[in-house]
Symmetry: D3
Subunit: 277 residues, 6 copies
């Protein structure tokens, strides 16, 4: 799904950052024609994502490296599973290793975390979605990893869906006016989401025919009333202080979507190591 | 410390990613000449880092925004502290908000985590340092945040210090030969670090006059012997499975440096919000 | 609406293309401290768009140039109207002139053409929208000009709305399956459009609850039946061989949207000249 | 003639603009290993240009796509002619389609229009040439298309030929002084063109030994006198309000060159479609 | 003459290369609010060039630095002359110093060398011109410095003048055919230069009406015959093994132009130092 | 040692600069399918460097060109030696020629000059090292060439070693304080160099345990005393007015390192030509 012309600039940037001049260790100590095979091995249980990105790192560093991908993005992997095998110039393997791992570990960390959330709501229609709280420069990789972990994406950026918040409502005067003004201008292909803080606002947003309504920081009881009022008209999204623990309850209430910034802004790298055979 | 010519490309990249075309909500709903004041407020206790980076985001989005920085990078902040105040075009404030927060929250998350580590070893000469396990594209920001949290930096990249590992030793034949071969070629301004897995290897590395010796995955007892053998000759760095809990013990042993990948690869975003007044 | 960080790369690229080394005429013949005032004057009747882009060209070439914008994007202008006034270094004015005009004339040409289409359907709910048939590299400018001429935008690119065409239907098996498969994966903020070639397909797309249905190359009679079948459920978009002449009839039928590639792919530059006073 | 290192940045820019994240339709609905053959077919009569550029779009999107070019740039093609055949990943074909077509249709539109002009003057020595009124960012492609349509290029940019206009003459004092001052400084490889508005100015420009003299907005009678005065000394270029209709008369008068901005600034895209077989 | 949009990328590239992370000395040892005045002083006699480029380095590093230029590009300067004075943040001055000096010293080195050549031929019409043998990435700066030293520029690159050499003649069949084929295709604004190795070839090139004829590696006697044969028809350029010592003789012969690669490919940096007051 | 991802941007930049549009000579006069073999031949005696860079130029211009490298970087070559052989499209060979030669000649010029210095001190432990006085944008190539000529590298840039100079000492108060302050902050992998102007300062720097001490502009007698005082504690580097002639004497004194800006800032291009067979 991720085109090279989208990910190559990210990889080149990371490689450039990791070498100012030469790899002062390997370029001196390892001969130019030395060859090796190395494997990237999972050192934990989780969901892997970013294997084609890691592959691309090796290809960019050295097109003569052979890369074999042994798992699919989205696969559940266990400690000891080999994820990827590379053969080629020893120097090139060592130059690519850290950048490939940094990307793969971060993406797999996100996928693994997303899986925890997705698994929690698997018995409900409830979707867990990401936010714009992604690492600057890595949004396409992180949103992709969220998908591979079983969660879903929210809008990609400020251009592709309307999100009417408090300040917009104040600027225009009312939810109704804001929705109408937006509808009059935006592409017919674009949805409108309105953030509401009360059931009164919800009522207005429903009348204004918002496509999606975000229930901001509501408790479960209020959300239950919101679901009842909604009668399936708009997509209901819960947001704010959504912890893993609350998810099942929210699912049971009948909410459609919860958005969770922590899917991407607070991630533990998934433990993977590269071993030269 | 961070020059604009180093951080501007990171910011421009992040802004570009966050808008494909226009901000389809604010550009439609908020008038071009509307002005606001907004504040970035800490919603947790911790150490802030990246305020000048956040400031720069606003400046790039709109040079007419006035930005006032109210804390210094490295300051301890508490819930409710105002970190930064911005005045100017409402549209511009909303366009800059997410990118500025994403950078500031990540950097402050790292600084806050680093502070935990640094505080743990404050009674020892022991330094906690970062690694190359940084987010691709953000290394200069993350290493800076590590410093502001009270920890220290390891080498910046593959070009600025020699790190002789297992594969290099195998390629050359011995630690001694590897160190000598490196010394014969590298700049006189460059240090040599050798990773050792046993006290036997430590002995060889000491004889070879390595500047720094990394004790890989050693238990405390072995490290204590290493300190004794070293007699202050080389800088001793412990690495591998270093948890916050082990730090004091390692400090007491007399190790000089521990390197901790988690300082940058597994970070919880520090909670900060922007409120329009 | 157009942020500088989105348009600056376009302008820098154009300026770079227009000078390999120096302006071999003005840099030699005009003294460095010569100053002039110049005006961009409309030489035709139409709708202007791109004034802030033209202004930005002068600012980039020389930040000391004073630029005064005398009309708003979207204004109807007549032969002889002064659109923009610039004062400053004569050399800089001449270096910026051609790039500023090339952008302004193209954008105003699009706005003027869009106005013709928009005006034709002003008595109907019918929207005329653009397509992805924009000039490579200038999409944000061209879609903006379409808006300023009174027409509307379609999706910005391949990422921000689903458009199910013939090949996708074949790949999945049926319109129903394609819509369902898409719904199961895409963000809840994303709409689904289906292109249909017959009323039978329309029926299936309606049942599948597509948000938008594109009626591909249908005659007016068939479109009228489509409107009847639709009963306001989906947004109906007509596409293919839509000429200015057919618009009123299509509007009368009750179609919601027509998409017209010619809005951006076949444009006559709007005649504007810069005169040094 | 067009080197990849010149056109790749244009193509990458266009591709990047057309995808923010993924192709949300094809990446979801079409399987990764689906393969297709597609053909680009002319849907009008005209002159094709840009086939190698279109080919390069497919190569960049996916180096495993096989591209067969079936016509040469500059060929006259008719409705139904197949121009280019591509085989490979269905997803990749669909991702490349629009950008490839946008470039090919624009370039072929220019070539087709240029052919009309070139054909009109085929019995005269008169050359029809383009101007700097090209689409920002696409100058090399547009000037190449002009050539393929049978017209010729004017100077490429501000650096490669001197063009002395009204303001330059005023700045220096006289045509004679301007030409002499330029000659004293410019490379010996660079020609000097002077724009004149009267036969008096023409006389002065001839005495000053300008290489090329542009007759600005002159009627045919005046141009005839200019040809007579010139006696083959300078290249005479007519410019301003040159329509297709006037070309033969201007050719008969004996003018050497006419420059026509409309060759590139007002172009109708040439109709080409891509059909998956 | 050199626009910022042409030189900024060169400067940013150089600055980026000179700092991977921070200035590890000054950022640590010098306080952020320390201010200084510094002067760039000539430590030799020669011709200065690049002062506005050096100024721009300081502006990019820190827009708050005040830069005063005390000499003009092209001025003769002596040991001890102050060329440029900068006031502002001490850290910023030190960060900009090396890049500013590297550019200024190289450009002044070229200007100084060019002056030697120019001075040698000052009594003749003979021009000494540069070649395409410039430092990759710095051509616009180096050709500018050549001008400031009193020499002249040859064509800027492969696009702006025809240079027919041995291989082209072989490919087409004869000088006559090559010139004619070129004339039939190139812009009317472009000159044709032919490289000849004998007087026989010269004769053919003259008949073919080449604008410029390069006499390749001819001795003075042959060149004298060439001048005689030419009778002022073409511009005669001597090239190959042209040393400073031969220039006066070549000037006396009546040659128009000599091209000297050494003007840019073999340059001694002009000695300039920056002193903090 | 030089990764493509580091050198490709340099090469692309140089190629772009050498062609604005097309190669107006070869693209017109030489047929697209003409093929040739060409050789790069040394026209002087010296040390070659940059062969893989030159190879990469051809690969980027045209991946179908076959390039055979016949010497190794660092090899001593004599007049007439063939360094590199290329086969492929005649047009591509001519388009790549100048950029490939400009890079190869500059790098070989540096290697050849470095060899002179290295050879002079071959009987001593004395190392001759480069400085940051490199050509902006080419530092990695020039430092590599220095190595291939037998000299050594100094720090790569401002980030990878501390260099305490006069201004830093003034800012902090004393050498001792400056060294201690730096040590407290810099990575444990970074060395500290102190520039001293007297033996008194040397004494202080030694006590402060600087890793490297630069003896600024000292005469041989003073340097001899410095060596004596040093007793092998710090690395001693001599700098300032170091000529080739002084090297042996300095070597005999026992200095460890001399840094010579002229290794890179004042270089004579090594004479190499490309001949089409």
């Amino acid at each position: 799904m991720l085109s090279n012309y989208k990910i190559d600039p990210i990889i080149l940037n990371a490689l450039d950052e990791d070498v100012s001049y030469v790899d002062i260790t390997s370029d001196i100590l390892i001969s130019e024609d030395s060859k090796d095979t190395a494997e990237m091995m999972s050192k934990a249980d989780g969901v892997v994502a970013g294997l084609s990105v890691a592959k691309r790192v090796f290809e960019i560093v050295d097109p003569t490296i052979e890369v074999e991908i042994l798992k699919n993005d989205g696969d559940h992997v266990a400690y000891g599973d080999v994820l990827l095998r590379v053969k080629g110039s020893s120097r090139s393997l060592l130059k690519a290793e850290r950048v490939a791992l940094n990307l793969l570990q971060r993406m797999s960390g996100i996928a693994t975390q997303a899986y925890l959330y997705a698994n929690e709501v698997k018995d409900y229609k409830l979707r867990v979605v990401d936010t714009r709280k992604t690492t600057p420069g890595l949004r396409i990789l992180e949103k992709y990893a969220v998908l591979k972990g079983g969660c879903f994406n929210h809008r990609f950026n400020l251009s592709d869906a309307v999100m009417i918040k408090d300040n917009h409502i104040k600027a225009v005067g009312s939810i109704t006016d804001a929705v109408n003004k937006a509808k009059a201008m935006i592409p017919h292909t674009t949805k409108i989401e309105v953030e509401v803080e009360s059931l009164l606002q919800l009522e207005e947003a429903l009348k204004a025919k918002a496509d999606i309504i975000m229930l901001d920081n509501m408790d479960n009881e209020t959300m239950a009333k919101a679901v009842e009022m909604n009668k399936g008209q708009a997509i209901l999204e819960a947001s704010g202080n959504i912890t893993l623990e609350r998810l099942k309850a929210i699912g049971a209430i009948g909410i459609d979507v919860v958005s969770v910034g922590a899917l991407t802004h607070s991630v533990k790298a998934f433990d993977i190591s590269m071993n030269i055979k």
